[in-house]
């Protein structure tokens, strides 16, 4: 118990867990807001093209609940029965028949479930958001690293020389790891769940899981609440087993070899889970996999059976057995190898190879300048390179998740034709276009009148020749069409034409309204140009809005930048504060001003690289997906940039934005270095920096407006919020 409370109740551990929970919640809440905003803007775009997507989705959902799911179950049953009979008659292999029988049996249990309508967006957001799954590992892995550091220290010799210092101690540590995994999932995943409840509304925990279309293939008879519980248990198992695996491997192998083996195993599992197709013979490796267990969704969004020597069994059952077996195996292994056996490490040959290589290379790459030595300390000693790699991986994830919608083709064509310097000529051209649209609307109205009359006439004709039958009650089955009736055909054609004209009218009215707005904006801009003596252009500001106004992707980039600065630099000063190192360094000629100048220069360089790469990603995506037109146009062409009191182009503004971001990032780097300088250890420095810089931003992100002015992300993203 003493060991468990020592490991779990330490201030550091509690603070880290709470910090992670707050940060995770902030990220997730930002994601949900962005998801809702993107969804609504997508609906808006589709509405402008004449499609009411929201209504369509609602109708499809209703259809699914009332009809499609029942039909799916029936078809499943029929198919399974047919195939089973065929297999029996043709004396096909036992596995095939067993699989079909099992499938039919599994889905037969679902016949009497009641599907209910409810709010599904929250669950879908939870399932799509995978950052939390990676954050779950942080606390347990930090504990593992702490245990490994202790095992190399003198205190370990002391502890192992006591009565309960081996197997019982190891057992306590295993329990601590398990409890920490539970707490991680509770705080992080639980936090997400609580947020979706608050943001989207209750999903209806008692509803059958299959009420959500995504879970249609699920054969488990559980409710939504049950799904969350099972998901949480699976995530706990995944985190615990991974942490145990890494702990055992790194305890028994020398550093490089241990990390290589761990990375190899985990990397292999990741590849199996991503790239092995479901129909492959190696499907077992894809299903019975810690990554698949972590995601948990695939056990509920698909129906999978696994083949074991001709016998069939469900993937969920197999996973449960695997988890139990693995947990027992790893526990026994840990107790034996870490608890009972002598602490001997394997793989010293690799260490010898590393030393040999370093010895050979040192002749070519001597680090005799202070600047390069400080760079080595930062990049290798304090693992800033590792931080850069991890941030780069997250950057790729942000890149892939960016939703930058280009405007519809018609708008693009409009701007292509009319954007540029606003002159009398260009105003006239737009006015002409508007007149053209108005004339087109008039023509469409005339067509509508014509087709309305034609439809009425043809309907009357049909009724007269078909004993008063209503042509709109004739059902049309494309697989069993009725005999060709020219009068019926005329009615349908008139109806189709009428509908088409109505759609066209809707679209034309929408475009007319838009062009009128653009014209009004052009006139207003021309007036401003005349008053101020600055040039004014018509510019498609879709991309510039995303750059200078509010945008979720930029905030995510800013968060990534902030995390990089924190993790890369918070140890810079504290690294030298341990023992008497600082005293030793300060006793030398260059150990004060020049040494700090080198440190600051390196931090500035890395900050510049980070700003360029992270926001460069965003700019490149913007250019690719939407395009940044007319960068030579005066910035004041856009209304929200008219506060700039001097002449500058839009391109200049974009460059200025980068410069401002760099300066803001440098300011925060300075704060981090200052905190680090006065912190006793790198860990304390990291905690303090997170509290000072990250926590206020996370609180502002989660909606607490009082922290708005302390929101570092807001300043780095330079977005209006």
């Amino acid at each position: 118990m003493t060991e468990i409370s020592r490991l779990l109740c330490s201030k550091k551990r509690i603070i880290i867990l709470l910090m992670l929970a707050v940060i995770n919640l902030a990220l997730f809440s930002g994601y949900c807001r962005a998801e809702r905003r993107d969804r609504e803007s997508y609906y808006e775009i589709m509405r402008m093209s004449g499609i009411n997507l929201q209504q369509q989705e609602a109708d499809e959902y209703e259809q699914y609940l009332t009809h499609d799911y029942a039909e799916y179950l029936n078809k499943m049953q029929e198919q399974a029965n047919k195939q089973a009979l065929l297999a029996k008659l043709s004396k096909k292999s036992g596995y095939l028949r067993r699989n079909l029988i099992k499938t039919a049996k599994d889905f037969e249990n679902l016949k009497d479930i009641q599907l209910e309508k409810g709010v599904n967006h929250g669950i879908l957001a939870l399932m799509d958001y995978d950052t939390t799954d990676y954050l779950l590992f942080i606390s347990p892995l930090l504990l593992v690293l702490e245990l490994l550091a202790e095992s190399g220290s003198a205190v370990s010799e002391l502890v192992r020389a006591t009565k309960r210092g081996r197997v019982p101690l190891c057992a306590s540590r295993i329990i601590s790891l398990l409890v920490l995994s539970v707490l991680s999932v509770l705080f992080l995943y639980g936090g997400n769940l609580a947020f979706t409840h608050h943001f989207y509304g209750s999903p209806g925990y008692g509803r059958a899981l299959q009420s959500i279309k995504l879970f249609q293939p699920c054969s488990a008879k559980i409710c939504i609440g049950g799904y969350f519980l099972l998901s949480a248990i699976m995530k706990i198992a995944a985190v615990f087993l991974t942490a145990m695996l890494i702990w055992i491997i790194l305890s028994k192998f020398y550093a490089i070899l241990g990390w290589l083996i761990s990375a190899g195993l985990i990397g292999a599992m990741y590849l199996f889970s991503k790239f092995i197709p479901a129909t492959s013979t190696f499907n077992h490796l894809r299903i019975l996999n810690l990554f698949t267990l972590l995601k948990a969704n695939s056990f509920f969004t698909s129906y999978t059976n696994l083949r074991w020597f001709g016998f069939t069994s469900g993937a969920r059952t197999d996973m449960l057995i695997t988890v139990i077996v693995l947990a027992c195996l790893l526990t026994l292994l840990a107790l034996r190898l870490i608890g009972k056996n002598y602490p001997v490490k394997i793989g010293h040959q690799l260490e010898n190879i590393r030393e040999y290589i370093v010895k050979r290379l040192s002749g070519f790459l001597p680090v005799r300048s202070l600047f390069r030595a400080e760079g080595w300390k930062l990049l290798i000693g304090q693992k800033a390179i590792l931080t850069m790699i991890v941030c780069a991986l997250f950057g790729v994830s942000i890149w892939q998740d960016m939703h930058l919608y280009a405007p519809d083709l018609d708008t693009q064509n409009f701007y292509e034709r009319y954007s540029g310097e606003i002159t009398e000529e260009s105003l006239e051209k737009v006015q002409k276009r508007i007149s053209g649209e108005s004339r087109m609307i008039q023509n469409i109205n005339k067509s509508i009148d014509y087709y309305t009359n034609t439809l009425a006439k043809k309907t009357e004709q049909y009724k007269q020749s078909h004993s008063g039958d209503d042509p709109f009650e004739v059902e049309y089955d494309p697989y069993d069409p009725p005999a060709f009736d020219p009068e019926l055909n005329d009615v349908w054609m008139a109806e189709v034409n009428l509908e088409q004209q109505q759609y066209q009218l809707e679209a034309a009215e929408m475009y007319l309204e838009r062009y009128q707005k653009v014209l009004a904006a052009m006139i207003e801009t021309a007036k401003y140009a005349k008053e101020t003596g600055r040039g004014a252009w018509l510019v498609d500001d879709n991309a510039y809005q995303k750059l200078f106004q509010e945008n979720e992707a930029q905030r995510r980039c800013s968060l990534l930048l902030l995390l990089f600065l924190i993790f890369a630099f918070s140890g810079v000063g504290a690294y030298d504060n341990r023992y008497d190192t600082r005293m030793l360094l300060r006793s030398t000629k260059n150990g004060r001003g020049k040494m700090y100048a080198c440190k600051i220069t390196w931090c500035a360089l890395l900050t510049a690289v980070a700003v360029t790469c992270i926001f460069g990603i965003y700019l490149v995506r913007l250019q690719q997906d939407i395009g940044l037109p007319l960068t030579n146009a005066p910035a004041q062409s856009l209304a929200y940039l008219r506060w700039i009191p001097f002449d500058i182009t839009l391109g200049g503004c974009v460059a200025g934005l980068f410069v401002f971001r760099f300066l803001a990032a440098m300011l925060f780097t300075g704060i981090i270095l200052l905190i680090s300088r006065f912190s006793r250890t790198p860990q304390k420095s990291l905690l303090l920096v997170m509290i000072v810089l990250l926590l206020p931003s996370a609180l502002a992100e989660s909606g607490i407006s009082q922290f708005r002015y302390l929101d570092v992300i807001r300043y780095l993203s330079c977005c209006k919020q």
């Binding site: 030393e355 370093v358 010895k359 040192s362 001597p366 680090v367 005799r368 300048s369 202070l370 030595a373 080595w376 300390k377 290798i380 000693g381 690294y575 341990r578 023992y579 008497d580 190192t581 600082r582 005293m583 030793l584 360094l585 300060r586 006793s587 030398t588 000629k589 260059n590 150990g591 004060r592 040494m595």
Partner: protein, 294 residues
Amino acid sequence: MQNKLEIKNLTMKYGDFYALQDVSFTLEPGVTGLLGANGAGKSTLMKLMTDHMKRTSGEILWNGQDILTMGSKWRELVGYTPQLQGIYDDFSPKRFLYYMGALKGMKRKDIKEQTEQVLEAVNLSHVSHKKIGQFSGGMRQRVLLASSLLGKPQVLILDEPTAGLDPEERIRIRNDIAELARDCIVLLATHVVSDIACVAKNVLLIRGGKRIAFDTPQGMLANAEGKIGEFTGTYEEIAELQKQYPNGEIAQRRDSFVLRIAEYPLPEGCIPVRDSVTLEDVCHLYLKGDRAYD
């Protein structure tokens, strides 16, 4: 003209507590041993001499010039080994020495040359590429010592440089220090009194932040004459006597036991020791209690 480091009325005060009070002495080329109990002010003195802390009052003069006005020029002259082993575990000795050479403002050619020399001097050439994190305490101490020797310093400030070293290594390092001290001022703080006895030109005794004595080892030994005595008897008798003289040292000689004490005047029954007085006895005499050195 010989180099001279003068400490004049040096005081370091934390609130009402004096870590150092009005300490004065002068160092010239050669080894000066610094002896004192834990918390006496040895490390404080060394930190003030390396300008790591701001003194409350007093002066530290290098050839007449205060080190505060010299700035980095003073630190160019200094080689320092701290008490705690503050080095980076993921550095190799070679990389660490290159780094320290760069910090000392040495030329690159000199860094390479001197690194090889000092690694050889401290017997670490064969592990120059291994990570310091794998070293024993003694090996780490040798790395620190090597770093203090880089740049051919004129003032060496060594805080427990032989801690954790085996007897053979200690002798070797002692001899190296003695060799260096011919042209260099060396201030050597240690609890291993025999290190000082062998090589020191002068010994500085500090107690409670104050200078108690600054004399040659021979002078101190002469001063201690008649103040070191021994009681002889059975174990029970000696154990009983020790209750009266708890700082005394018990030793066994053939069939009897001996309690060696440092007192002035010596009590009745205590036989004065004449030939085998050591610096350790001097420490017993002056570093505990409040006896003045006369």
